[in-house]
Symmetry: C2
Subunit: 136 residues, 2 copies
DNA sequence: ATCCACCCTGTAGTCACTACAGGGTCAAGA
DNA sequence: TCTTGACCCTGTAGTGACTACAGGGTGGAT
């Protein structure tokens, strides 16, 4: 009576390309499912849940090795969630650093754009700013 | 009397790894330099300037194919800088989109962290939020 | 002569997929 | 029964922008 799924169905349910599901299996993130007589992969609800977890974590920007850790931790129900916190907090810090870097970049580029007088390339401040100071 | 540089010197002057300089040559971003009798690459000031330009553009986050366009444009001095503007503006827009995406992510994660009660993993809201709603 | 820092080529690894090529399976309709 | 067409299989290679070797050759100083 257990519900089963083909790889395509699993993909549709989790918004995952079929190739990606196979990729997750190849790198050991999803277990090898049993096969049908025609050699098709046969998934069940547990696979669906696990893939859903992976995809949600990916949406939240966790790299796959951190997803792996989160999966590992999620199975140890009696344990304290301290490590989960740490992992998520580190990820937030990383995201904040990336935001900061991009804001700096945006600032620099916007300043360049503001200086451009829309003339010939020979006088363009943007191109000029890219020319390195050739200290000779 | 023309100044020349080995690949290592060029790398030091532009903060570029030697492998990266060779990589730029391989993909046609830097011209093949002449070689010494011992088959060493021999660079001159023009190479140095071009590599400097590439590295500065990379620091500003331009992908290599846009760097290629910028290099192309920078050589056409009589032309209007309209295309330069467009390219840079598109890049800024892209950066702004990335900032926005990261801020959304940060918000989601921060909310998750705030909900965690620091108990057992079985009750952890973070893990819970990653479990997909298994709608039968 | 020997050392060491530097240079050479070529290949493979990174991350997280994605895109084929070249086949096999399965259910439905004519 | 035959044939479509949607789906599945494996294996390999491509993406961006490098980075890291392995296994050798070169050049200058001691
Ligand atoms: Zn302009
Ligand atoms: Zn301009
Ligand atoms: Zn906690
Ligand atoms: Zn918790």
């Amino acid at each position: 009576m257990m519900q089963t799924y083909t790889i395509g169905q699993l993909g549709r349910l989790t918004d995952t390309k079929v190739e990606t599901v196979r990729y997750y299996e190849r790198i050991g993130l999803l277990p090898h499912p049993p096969r049908s007589v025609g050699n098709y992969r046969v998934y069940d609800g547990a696979h669906l849940a696990r893939l859903g977890f992976i995809r949600r974590a990916r949406e939240l920007g966790f790299p796959l090795d951190q997803v792996r850790e989160l999966l590992e931790l999620s199975g140890q129900e009696a344990r304290s969630c301290e490590q989960v916190d740490e992992l998520v907090q580190a990820h937030v810090t990383d995201i904040e650093r990336r935001i900061h870097d991009l804001q700096t970049l945006r600032q620099e580029l916007t300043q360049l754009l503001a200086q451009c007088q829309h003339g010939k390339i020979a006088e363009c401040r943007i191109i000029e700013a890219l020319q390195p100071r050739v200290t000779g």
